[in-house]
Symmetry: C2
Subunit: 125 residues, 2 copies
Amino acid sequence: MVIEIDFNSDEALYLQLRNQIIMGIATSQFHEGDSLPSVRQLADLVGINMHTVNKAYTVLKQEGFVKVDRRKGAVIAIDVDKLQTIAELKKELRVILAKGSCKNITREEMHELIDEIYEEYGGLE
Amino acid sequence: MVIEIDFNSDEALYLQLRNQIIMGIATSQFHEGDSLPSVRQLADLVGINMHTVNKAYTVLKQEGFVKVDRRKGAVIAIDVDKLQTIAELKKELRVILAKGSCKNITREEMHELIDEIYEEYGGLE
DNA sequence: CATTTGTGATAAGATAAGTATAACAAAAGA
DNA sequence: TCTTTTGTTATACTTATCTTATCACAAATG
């Protein structure tokens, strides 16, 4: 999977990594059990420091997307807690929907947006 | 409208303000033409510095939610650019939907979440 | 045995966030 | 006219976060 860093972005590097890896899992570019590159490899690959990659992995571990195995490094391992996930999503969506509502985005259009993105993600459910 | 700051949150104070005001507009607690409190008033009210409030207002202005009138202060004035808004929402939603997809949240459940939040917002379209 | 792994400690620089204080011109009210 | 309040700008300081750098260690690999 191609991971790219935008050094001009105002988003923190470790968050860019985290988001791209989460999207990589959602788009089936990473599968349960796959190993991510070692912190040193990925750091060299994208041209950033080892500890920044490690921070991204640590966040992913804490959020239940990977488990770190001494032998295999960071391994994709989804820890599903739907109730907690829904609570978190709801909080984030509230702000986004408010923003859309102010800008005259209707509920219908928001549903269409959701479907479009799910299409991008290969129509998975 | 009640604006409250969580000093224990890891979210920046000016972003908490911004988000609450946007949600306040979406829930019709603020209407087009309404004046927000002056930077000094709101700063005193919630117990933070004047410049932090000013930063929130500046962001809201740049994002097209308010216009700053020399006489009336920060006035709710929505600048609607649907195409740009949709593009922005899509980018933010991509990460959120990916997160949900990894955690087994289906497209249907995501639609339900959207509807629930729109219900919270008083069923507006 | 040498290499690579994740992890930890520590230090340093850079950037952002938040506060504090001061000042100014414009507008409003008395 | 005088005072107050307004948004705005400037400067300075502290604090926190982000990022890099270097070193080190035990565990696993080949």
